[in-house]
Subunit: 185 residues, 2 copies
């Protein structure tokens, strides 16, 4: 068993932050980072539990979602890697597994013979729908926050990602041809 029968009677992160601030210094960043690590572990555990019945992990589920959002239900491996922030070899591994399970299909890219397209299959579409129901059923594992607080959480984490270079700023400009989004990298 992973979790003890009885949870700790105190917050271990808050206690560590207390000791940190008296012995080392400012514990603000340390406490936030440790919280992110721990909450990610909790959320991954819950989502994987909801998805395991469908033969999926959160990583593979994300890949399926990404494909289902594509207009033609297909994307190049390289695009998937960039969107999901995955290492090229991780994309290969995840697509391998999805293909073995018949949820996606590899096809040669018509224009670029270096590239490989990954296409969602009908089976993949069905499994994805069932998996989505399962994961929504447990609120993606996220409990304890109001919708407003959840949005605040998203905003704060988005700031961290933007400042970490995860993506560029996007600004809307007015041009004679209409609105245009310009990225500042």
């Amino acid at each position: 068993m992973v979790s003890p029968a009885v949870p700790l009677p105190f917050d271990p992160i808050a206690r560590a932050a207390d000791l940190w601030s008296t012995r080392i210094g400012d514990a603000t960043a340390m406490a936030a980072v440790t919280n992110v690590m721990r909450v990610q572990q909790i959320l991954l555990r819950k989502t994987d539990a909801a998805l395991s019945g469908h033969g999926l992990t959160f990583a593979r589920y994300e890949a399926l979602i990404l494909l289902s959002f594509a207009r033609t239900k297909r994307l190049a491996m390289s695009v998937m890697g960039r969107r999901l922030q995955l290492h090229p070899t991780s994309v290969t591994s995840i697509v391998d597994r999805l293909e073995t399970d018949g949820l996606v299909r590899r096809e040669p890219h018509p224009d670029d013979r270096r590239a490989t397209l990954v296409e969602l299959t009908a089976d993949g579409d069905q499994v994805l729908a069932a998996a989505t129901t399962a994961v929504i059923g447990v609120d993606f594992g996220l409990t304890g926050l109001t919708p407003a607080q959840t949005t605040t959480l998203t905003d704060l984490l988005t700031k961290v990602r933007r400042d970490s270079g995860d993506f560029c700023q996007e600004t809307t400009h007015e041009t004679p041809q209409g609105r245009r989004n310009v990225a500042h990298c």
Copy 2:
């Protein structure tokens, strides 16, 4: 290389949330969970980069910190597992590695012959100090937030953990003997 030469010109999570809300439904929880996953990946990458020069991972660093905070610089394996929310076999693995590197030492528990105490060595103490400098130097990888926003982030994530049963509520009661913290599980 992991990260592309040029970051995406848009926020992939925000775009996925947009598509999700038009095709599936409320994307509030989905967006927050995906953000936690991605930020954790970013923070782990940055902290591990800062720690790798010292032969540590974030998990091993956390274990050393925990030991250094103990009054006698030693804790039972089981206590470490509960505090760090680690699987028993993960504790064994992490302590194995730390012991191989001479940063901790295993010792029999004086009172409970089933248990094993793990003690921080002088070497471990030195490595920990250097590693802490390194990890503080990069702000634990957390950038883009003001101290107040960082605190808000901690508060929100702490709510999630509390509601997920990660730890119990702690309430301070006044008793004839003074204040007493009581846990409600």
